[in-house]
Symmetry: C2
Subunit: 619 residues, 2 copies
């Protein structure tokens, strides 16, 4: 604490409340802040505490807690700054960059201190916002550090502000170590900055009751020595007791070893394939040369958690079956350690706690794969900033494979490889888009959570599910084709639903014959560059396309027009009976309109410029 106060560069302007503060916290109080501005009246902090917490930086200097009000359409933030130096900046941006970011800045010019809503331009220069939409509610010194309490509406209608939407939000932060004469003088490149991904708008789903006979099982890798590498995927194989009968998982939650909150990035529990009698025990990096080959047969997701997520609850009428005959006893835990500072010697026993019941619920939950087939016929030209590929689950497939009462999707996990930037699945009925199943406009392949839907989506026979992924291939020199490889692409939405059906896969790809027509056509406009000979593979053909505006635009036109080949499958290899090739693209006559953001009416509460914050240091 003393170290903190010694490093503090806030000017000491003793205020009338100093004595009071000192008596409240005694000598242990390091920093005390008095907000002089009177505009805070009427801005009561939310009654409930902050249910969501996340460390922002790997050292745990900044800790964010927050609360969402869907009625007020705002987010209350509580930012704990440990060892405050000369200020802090915090905000949001499209993909976690410090440029074009929407920021709040707390800074000092050496004398006075200020809090303001600001934004950074494309060169990272900071400017005061015309509209002050982040509203400071409280700034208080605590034994842990400075606590800033502020709120912001989801939408401000200020074109310089980030729109807080469902899905991933890239939080950014910066630590000011020196005073700056003005907001504009802050040089972002000189600061210690970083990003953290989080689902800010957590769904307000009421927590289902957990049955009385619920038992728990902890799937934890015991006493792992976290490698001092930036990225480690740790694999740990464990097993269910012999003769463990069929149960329903009804809930699960993360167990994160204390002190490692900033290092444990995400965790997943997979069930191994029943085709093998046994799996060797293992605990080590997933890419280790020592790892058993069979690890790759442990891919059926039982539970998934990522930083910032809380417990995952199944709906009251459904549970995820595990145990019992016909399923493997072996489980694989995968823990992604994110250790950018390469801190050595840290030990960890994090994992997932499963809550399960022997009293089977009415419905088995299932997981269905929507989107694109893993095939090279779906490709993204190089140097594209936002190329969209779309996969369909057609009316013909849902008509055949879904029960007449339909199924209910309650959660979703979006998946692409490295170039994925946005993912959305839309439900269409009778040619009209009616509902968004899940959407992430700031999707990151590095942050793939299973997310509860705000609202369960019911899919009926004859409905169409359209999954679109947006890719950025600016750094690629050749086309990126679909496939399993990490440098190939996928467009998948794993939807969690009930009651379970036989339909495991409902995906599409362009008809390969029409793709050959495309290669021919490109040749007519250029001098025979693409080999359309029979021995050339599709990836080879794509690699030889001369990428100009015409070949790009026409590929886009082809994907928007050509018939598709459907995978309407019971498992990845077994199709439902029927004709699935050369299917027409679903015809969509009306698309969902973007909802107009509700702009808050700003009243006298919002200051026109920075707020002066008087900070006095008490020893």
């Amino acid at each position: 604490m003393q170290a903190t106060s010694r490093r503090c560069r806030w000017a000491s302007i003793p205020g009338p409340n100093m004595r009071e503060a000192a008596s409240m916290y005694g000598t242990a109080v390091a920093i005390f802040l008095v907000i002089l501005v009177a505009a805070l009246q009427g801005s009561v902090p939310p009654e409930s505490p902050f249910p969501y917490h996340i460390p922002l930086d790997p050292e745990g200097t900044l800790e964010l807690s927050w609360n969402v009000s869907y009625v007020q359409e705002d987010v209350h933030f509580q930012l704990l700054v440990r060892g405050l130096k000369a200020g802090v900046l915090f905000g949001m941006s499209d993909r976690g960059e410090l440029e074009n970011a929407d920021l709040v800045v707390l800074w000092t010019d050496g004398g006075r201190s200020y809090f303001a809503d600001a934004w950074s331009d494309q060169k990272g220069r900071i400017h005061l916002d015309n509209q002050q939409d982040y509203q400071l509610l409280q700034a208080q010194g605590t034994p842990d550090g400075l606590v800033l309490l502020f709120k912001r509406p989801f939408a401000t209608c200020d074109p310089k502000d980030y729109l807080i939407e469902d899905g991933t939000v890239h939080l950014v932060y910066g630590i000011l170590e020196e005073p700056f004469q003005s907001l504009e003088a802050i040089n972002i490149s000189s600061l210690h900055t970083g990003l953290q991904r989080v689902q800010l708008l957590k769904p307000e789903v009421p927590t289902p009751a957990v049955p009385a006979d619920t038992r728990t099982m902890e799937i934890r890798a015991p006493d792992v020595l976290i490698p001092s590498e930036e990225t480690t995927y740790w694999c740990y194989i464990t097993e269910l007791p012999q003769g463990f009968p069929r149960h329903h998982i009804v809930m699960y939650e993360p167990i994160v070893t204390e002190g490692n909150e900033a290092l444990v990035h995400h965790m997943e529990v997979f069930q191994c394939a029943a085709t093998f009698e046994s799996f060797p025990h293992f605990s080590g990096p997933c890419d280790s040369k020592m790892k058993p080959q069979r690890l790759s047969y442990c891919r059926h997701v039982l539970a998934a958690w990522a930083l910032g997520a809380k417990a995952f609850y199944y709906p009251e009428e459904a549970g995820l079956a595990f145990g019992g005959p016909g399923s493997s006893r072996y489980l694989r835990l995968e823990v992604h350690y994110h250790n950018p500072l390469k801190i050595p010697g840290r030990r960890d026993s994090s994992g997932i706690r499963l809550y399960y019941t022997a009293t089977l619920r009415r419905f088995d939950a299932g997981i269905m794969e929507l989107g694109l087939v893993y095939t090279p016929v779906m490709a993204i030209p190089p140097k594209e900033t936002a190329f969209v590929l779309t996969g369909y689950c057609t009316d013909k497939c849902t008509q055949l494979a879904l029960p007449s009462s339909g199924v209910h999707i309650f959660a979703s996990q979006l998946h692409t490889h490295l170039t994925g930037r946005k993912v959305v699945t839309v439900l269409a009925r009778d040619g009209r888009e009616t509902e968004i199943v899940n959407r992430d406009n700031h999707y990151s392949p590095h942050f793939q959570e299973i997310r509860m839907l705000k609202k369960v989506v019911s899919v009926h026979q004859g409905d169409v599910l359209i999954t679109s992924c947006t890719y950025n291939t600016e750094d690629r020199k050749l086309a990126t084709v679909g496939g399993f490889g990490i440098l190939e692409e996928m467009c998948v939405n794993y939807v969690h639903y009930y009651p379970q059906t036989q339909l495991e896969l409902c995906k599409s790809a362009v008809d390969p014959g029409f793709l050959q027509k495309y290669f021919h056509l490109v040749n007519r406009f250029n001098s025979e560059d693409v080999c359309t000979c029979p021995q050339a593979t599709v990836p080879q053909q794509f690699a030889s396309v001369p990428w100009n505006s015409f070949s790009r635009d026409v590929l886009r036109a082809l994907y928007a027009f050509a018939p598709i080949s459907m995978h309407c499958n019971k498992s990845s290899a077994v199709r439902f009976q029927g004709e699935w090739d050369l299917q027409p693209l679903p015809e969509i006559v009306s698309t969902l309109e973007e909802p107009t953001p509700h702009c808050p009416t700003r009243g006298a509460q919002s200051p026109a410029g920075p707020m002066v914050v008087n900070m006095a240091v008490a020893e």
Copy 2:
């Protein structure tokens, strides 16, 4: 006046100011309004009077005056309502529709009266705006009627509000004859409504001085009996005096016969071709069977005016030459009468007053045609809502044809036929768009003014001028091809510039050979629908294209990729020397960014909802 007050349904709530009002206007005063709300302080009406005026409805019931402040970025409106009944609505919308309009509404529920910022949805239902951006400054009864004074910023950042931009603005109005219980209860379809097009953001160009020896000449059709038809184009042939020497026109202004302000829609003065010695006199409808054939040889624009425009001034260093050897003495005046109520018996002698000087200015002004060649190779598929065609004036042509000191564009007249919806010309230098020459995002083929540019645009050798037109062909069944016919399309920007050069035409069209590749390509994807045989004309080929998403998208891709044929011409038939076929499309590496609208900070002045307006009737 008495009739007005008898019909008035405003509730009579005698206010303290009633006696005062009565004494001010005597018994002639019909309506007097007192604004009770105190929020008006600090909102002083602009100092200068309102320089711009326009009647909104053909009966002249509503008259709008306005003033623009580029410093405040707002428009002050003064709306005069003659014979007020139960209220009025006024606003703006994309193309003059009453749906999706941004409105101010003055209405009464029979008791109280209200003024509010509102918007109409796509079904024409009216809703209160979340943000009240129209600010009422004054409401006052005058002998002429009720005068409402209010202002609005160009941009409000309220997604329900219209963005006031350069170019055409479609004003809409409605007259409330009955009280409505609420804003939401107002049924637009039951009102007397209409639209008026106007350039709201008049440029603030300082008025150049007019030389002392300036003389005037009135080109007026004498004593025309306006036909009781909705639309009449009146043609009148007149002539300059024998031996009239070369002069410079330095300014011109409209002369509109008093009382006909709402009927005279636009007027143009053309000079006839010098190829004919004389032209017969004529005064009658331009489409009359009696009209001389030679009228169609009078097409060289000397002056053009449209409703809402003021005087047109040439820059001090330039004038438009007329008279003298080598030019025709004959002039054609064209007056467009818009008489939707088919009022009979109205007589009119409107026209244009030319201000000219014998002291020739330093530079002759010239008119250059930018955009697309009139050729069917440029076509718009049917059922498109916003199809864009682009014409280029290439670096090669400007390099060759412009003087080394460049030319200066000071005015512009945009031109398309019936399906044109937007027009823009952008200047690019070294592959970078640098400046907008002229843009109209709400262009209407029914409102083609010569507009002074806010800022003179200098074009240098090697610059590129890119003119794009956006078309709506929703009501067409076949492709719309380029050409002269009214059902064919054009994309032209007539730019007025100095010093005059030989370059009269700098336009482009797609290479016809690449278009044939397109027809072949479409055939590969469909079963040989398009005749690619040599005897088929391009319009026939376009007429046989099966329009699906692929043929549409690929046509778009073709126009964005294929080489062009340039018309870099001295006159419409004489090209500059050089190779002008199969030219590459200009490469543009950076486009102009849309400026972020500057959202005003709303303070305590803006009410959160409707303002109560107390109206007392004095006899």
